[in-house]
Symmetry: C2
Subunit: 212 residues, 2 copies
Amino acid sequence: MRVIVPFDGQAPKTRLSPVLDYGERKEFARAMLRDVLSTVRAAGADPLVLSPSAVAIEDCSVCVDERPLSKAVNAQLRAATPAAAVVMADLPLLTERALERLLTSDGDVVLARGTGGGTNALVSRTEDFAVDYHENSYLDHLTAARDVDATLTEVDSYRLATDIDEPDDLAELLLHGDGRAADWLRDSGFRLSSSGGRSAVRRAAVAHESSR
Amino acid sequence: MRVIVPFDGQAPKTRLSPVLDYGERKEFARAMLRDVLSTVRAAGADPLVLSPSAVAIEDCSVCVDERPLSKAVNAQLRAATPAAAVVMADLPLLTERALERLLTSDGDVVLARGTGGGTNALVSRTEDFAVDYHENSYLDHLTAARDVDATLTEVDSYRLATDIDEPDDLAELLLHGDGRAADWLRDSGFRLSSSGGRSAVRRAAVAHESSR
């Protein structure tokens, strides 16, 4: 199945700016994307990076579409009938197994929620369904699927729900991640820290090497 | 299967104190517990509330054990052989289906992670495994299971991962909840609010009724 992976290499992960500078956010976003693409390939699916600006991704097709995200995704969904998936690029905890649960779930529309109300991944098997990404898009995507009488499945997955957007999310990646993005974080000095409740992260000074 | 549900009715949900006063936290914690117990029963399992102090729970067995949580849970796990589960009381998004995935997963030990490194639910089918709840207990429970050569399954579930501990968690409950705890929040004036990123909550004044 074609798996569309939206990725904005120019303005990546702005909500991580309290803990990562611009160059670091670019590197980290790229590491997360590579984790997702590896998982998509491991699951036997066919990734396509969808970017608003030119970007070079090793060993992966890229489609540049300057239109707003939802328009660009809908164009790709229509082009990829009878079925296509959309998986966000900031899901470095995604495993082959979690992705397979998404891709093999029955339904005209299959949705995976993100923390905070977003839609982190979906499958569409009907031309009648269109995406509209925004805050709380998940509830609106549920409604949109019902409005076109699509059969609907919701995938209950922590790994699909855990997009890495905010500093606290980094703790999830340090706890459960083992790919490039988790390695990048650890190499950059991030460690789990105890805060009396949930795990948070702290950053230690690291000796900078000439290249990672 | 016996499902042990630890519940502390005396000092509930202290991390919600920025948004709920003591009496409200008690009511809300009780509503979450009732949601969990309903789901356990709907799944055909046998709930036991485990509390450090006397507490009356409608239609549910209660065991009072003043010892620290892990000791009390381990005593119940040993008493409930050949298999028992532990499910936290602050999981109001739990559905019958998510619980059944936990209870029917193969393995001497089955673990469900919580946001921030905790262990929100588990099944033990071996007397060699003991719990030790603390921050980052999930990683230590993985190690403990391996140390006793238990076969291990990790359940990947957003609904099991989403414990309601902190104010931002309330948004998850408003987004995806439909039980007593979600109703309690809505009746208490909580609404989703847009913050430019993930959904948060705001609280509106509500006309107080004499009883809920």
